[in-house]
């Protein structure tokens, strides 16, 4: 099987977050990491598919380290991973991050503008940092190195 020995991927799971602007930031930041910043190593997981899909999503989440990216303290991404698959390797709470960064703007969930995208980029970089920790420690290897 492809997943013996050290994993070659990192699963990144965004909360679905339709209700909150931080949810939209979470989804888009994960997508940016996957498409632009760490392609090939990042695999995005789909949260509701844990429940609705066949085993694929759950099995994969068990086989690789998972970083949960949550929009708020309800931590759906983290909790659902724990419920359906196992421990998360790392987690981000965007609302807490925004507080830390002193962001107090009114943000839009449906029409992300310049400000929202700027914050999305910053969150993406936070995810990248966590991925790089796993790569540097050798816990995860790139496919061509494995």
């Amino acid at each position: 099987m492809a997943l013996e020995a050290r994993p070659k991927y990192i699963g990144v799971l965004s909360c679905s977050g339709e209700e909150e602007p931080e949810g939209t930031i979470a989804r888009n930041a994960v997508r940016l990491v996957m498409e632009k910043y760490r392609p090939g190593i990042t695999v995005s997981l789909c949260l509701p598919l844990y429940l609705a899909g066949d085993e694929g999503e759950r099995k994969f989440a068990q086989a690789v380290p998972v970083i949960a990216v949550d929009g708020c303290e309800k931590a759906c991404a983290k909790l659902s991973t724990e419920k359906y698959s196992g421990e998360v390797r790392d987690a981000i709470d965007i609302r807490a991050l925004l507080r830390e960064w002193g962001v107090e703007d009114e943000l839009s969930r449906s029409h992300p503008g310049e400000r929202e995208w700027e914050l999305t980029e910053r969150v993406a970089q936070e995810i990248v940092k966590k991925i790089d920790v796993l790569l540097e420690s050798g816990e995860v290897v790139r496919r061509d190195e494995g």
């Binding site: 339709e18 949260l47 598919l49 609705a52 419920k83």
Partner: protein, 135 residues
């Protein structure tokens, strides 16, 4: 007329442009076309089994919008103990308007935006019909 809310719940569809279109259509309905009656809700809350969210979908009217045939939105609503009054897939709209394909996840493109417009109008009309006929 009942005082029930209408929860329009799209799939979270991280990997599909059609799911992005479903989400955008949802926002259009709940924020612009029918803001007084409709709301949305994080699907993730249903996956984790959040009591408050599950209660909301059980006690109100639910519209599930899915981005593919895996039907995550519908299935997660059902797992919360509720059969959605309306359940659609984005593909059902696309079948009728195949020139309006959403392009990419982050930017669904011109065709995708037109599809969102068509979907949200039809959806709003369908919800109106349900509210008028229902009680």
């Amino acid at each position: 007329m009942s005082e029930k809310k209408v929860y329009v719940i799209p799939c979270s569809g991280i990997g599909k442009a059609s799911a992005s279109a479903g989400r955008e259509a949802t926002y259009r309905v709940v924020e612009e076309l029918m803001p007084e009656r409709c709301e949305t809700l994080c699907l993730g809350l249903l996956t984790t089994g959040d009591e408050e969210a599950c209660g909301k979908v059980r006690d109100n009217i639910v519209v599930a919008i899915d981005g593919c045939a895996k039907d995550c939105a519908r299935k997660n609503v059902e797992a919360a103990g509720k059969t959605p009054e309306i359940a659609h897939r984005v593909q059902d709209y696309l079948k009728k308007r195949k020139d309006l394909k959403p392009e990419a996840v982050l930017d669904i493109g011109e065709g995708g935006r037109k599809l969102v417009e068509v979907m949200s109008r039809e959806l709003a009309a369908e919800i109106e019909g349900l509210l008028e006929g229902g009680d």
